[in-house]
């Protein structure tokens, strides 16, 4: 539909038409059709490219924002990164008819200015859908950028390339896990759910987190190796430690001694080994992985109980020895006051 207008009209009509078309595309996308956007873009890519140059909108913004786009003549060029990558993007944030877009000519710098970080997050989230196709690579990011209507050159924003994609995914999963745990905790505190025993809680939390890998399990070994690259290690360790801290916190750990460290170390070990088992597990619904996890958790719980018992026994033995020593002293008369 858009392309009908293309050959016939002068530039500004062109842009208005593009806005309309992109809004339509956006609305369709809102219905969940990423594929639709995909089909629109090849047809209108020429228009879009021309548009990129005129771009000047930093609007970029958010799908949430309904603020209208000021007419082209009022837009200014903003930082290169924002402008080129967010150009076509910004257009598609409209919902109103073309007439009303020229009415609101107030602030171009509303609070819905999307930061570069937010934009990067959106691109990476979109890129996750292409991981099964391209693996954890820059191509996936490029494909993701294209679904958002940006040029594949926007991968230049990501200095770390595939590492950025993997770290983003890990952060996203951890955030989701923390939300789930907080919600469960809330339920327990409100009395709407039973609190679980520590071992069971840990098992459920680790299983929840690992299940988030299931859609990407075929390419996960590649992701793991990316996370082990030296320049990614600090970040991946930080994500891992935050996740483990979250799990233990919601499991009820409030220790302030060396147990803080031993518990987290144990859980890190459990999580990493279970992850490794999972990537080479071919049983239906990863049953073997969950069984492995169960056994490891049991081991840790047993060790903790044993340690407690040993300590209690040790204390009792010491008391016994002290008692025996005093008795001996009394018997031999060494304890008398002179």
């Amino acid at each position: 539909m858009l392309c009908m207008y293309r050959n016939a009209s002068p530039l500004w009509l062109d842009m208005a038409a593009l806005i309309r078309g992109l809004r339509a595309g956006r609305a369709l996308r809102g219905l969940g059709g990423v594929a639709v956007q995909g089909t629109l873009s090849p047809q209108c890519s020429n228009v879009r490219r021309g548009f990129h140059r005129a771009a000047l909108l930093r609007l970029a913004s958010d799908s949430k924002s309904d603020t209208s786009v000021p007419p082209p003549s009022y837009r200014e060029v903003h930082t290169a990164g924002e402008s080129s990558s967010s150009s076509a993007q910004g257009e598609s944030s409209e919902d109103a008819q073309p007439n009303t877009s020229f009415q609101d000519q107030s602030g171009e710098h509303g609070e819905d200015y999307e930061t570069e970080e937010q934009l990067q997050a959106r691109i990476l989230t979109a890129a996750l859908e292409f991981v099964s196709q391209h693996g954890w690579t820059v191509e996936a990011i490029a494909a993701g950028a294209e679904t958002l209507g940006l040029s594949s050159a926007s991968t230049g924003m990501f200095n770390n390339g595939a590492g950025d994609l993997v770290l983003h995914f890990v952060a996203q999963c951890n955030a989701q896990l923390a939300e789930t745990l907080a919600e469960q905790n809330n339920q327990v505190q409100l009395g709407q759910a039973e609190s679980k025993k520590t071992g069971e809680f840990l098992k459920d939390a680790v299983e929840t987190r690992l299940r988030m890998l299931v859609p990407y399990i075929d390419t996960w070994p590649q992701a793991m190796s990316i996370l082990l690259l030296p320049h990614n290690i600090p970040d991946s360790l930080k994500h891992l430690s935050t996740m483990v801290d979250d799990i233990w916190y919601y499991a009820g750990d409030r220790s302030t001694d060396v147990n803080w460290y031993t518990r987290r170390a144990a859980l890190t070990g459990i999580y990493n080994t279970t992850e490794l088992v999972m990537v080479q597990d071919s049983s239906p619904d990863f049953e073997e992985t969950w069984a492995f996890l169960d056994n490891r958790i049991k081991d840790v719980v047993n060790m903790a109980n044993t340690a407690k018992q040993v300590q209690a026994t040790g204390e009792a033995v010491v008391q016994g020895l002290m008692g025996a020593a005093i008795t001996l002293k009394n018997l031999t008369g060494m304890n008398q006051r002179r």
Partner: protein, 223 residues
């Protein structure tokens, strides 16, 4: 920002401290479902990573300090427990236990990592307490004076930092630290009253112990 009302429901304030402070977390905005109510909480909800890091390290070192002080008194009691100074040391030890308990609560509530060197401070503190107590009552008092002086100086510098930053934001924390500092100064004065200065080599001992305390404080802030 400061909601002083006590919440009836025991809501999870820890959500205010949710760990979305992972550096590269560009992903999801943490949805904080519950009301972040300041049930009697000593710390304000941290407004950014830097503040959380600063508060964390302050609490970490304070906790380590109280833990160490506890162990020192335990060492002293192990040697002098059955003598005349026993009850005095016990009284001071009980106050330190209270301080430690309070810090344990705060650390647990605000998800502050305790220092990794706690086992070291455990042994070192006990050894210091026991060794100085072997020098007699005066030795134990001298150790108390030295340690309490270090600790109150340290609390004072923390109070200064917080006051310079934002006294209203940290009112409760300041109150807590001031209270503890006053207790420590009381211990210091008690030590002086009980002939701390009459131990042979008092200055040497005091300097050595204070140097050790400074090193411990420096390390515990970081590790």
């Amino acid at each position: 920002m400061q909601r002083a009302a006590k919440c009836a429901l025991r809501l999870d304030i820890s959500r205010a401290f949710c760990p979305s402070n992972v550096r590269n977390c560009r992903a999801v905005n943490r949805v904080n479902g519950s009301v972040s109510c300041r049930r009697y909480s000593v710390l304000p909800p941290p407004r950014d990573e830097e503040e959380k890091a600063m508060l964390d390290s302050m609490l970490r070192v304070d906790h380590a300090g109280e833990y160490g002080a506890n162990r020192i008194y335990a060492g002293q009691m192990a040697v002098l427990g059955r003598t005349q100074t026993g009850p005095l040391i016990q009284h001071m030890w009980d106050q330190e236990k209270m301080h430690l308990e309070r810090f344990n609560e705060i650390l647990g509530e605000h998800r502050v990592r305790p220092t990794l060197l706690l086992p070291l401070w455990n042994i070192a503190g006990f050894a210091l307490g026991a060794c100085t107590a072997l020098l007699g009552k005066e030795g134990a008092m001298a150790c108390t004076v030295a340690v309490e002086e270090s600790i109150s100086e340290h609390y004072n510098s923390q109070i200064r930092t917080l006051m310079e930053a934002d006294p209203e934001r940290y009112t409760e924390l300041l109150q807590l630290i001031k209270e503890f500092r006053d207790d420590e100064i009381e211990h210091h004065d008690t030590g002086l009253e009980h002939d701390a200065e009459s131990v042979p080599g008092y200055l040497l001992l005091k300097t050595a112990i204070q140097a050790g305390c400074k090193a411990a404080i420096y390390i515990s802030q970081r590790i």
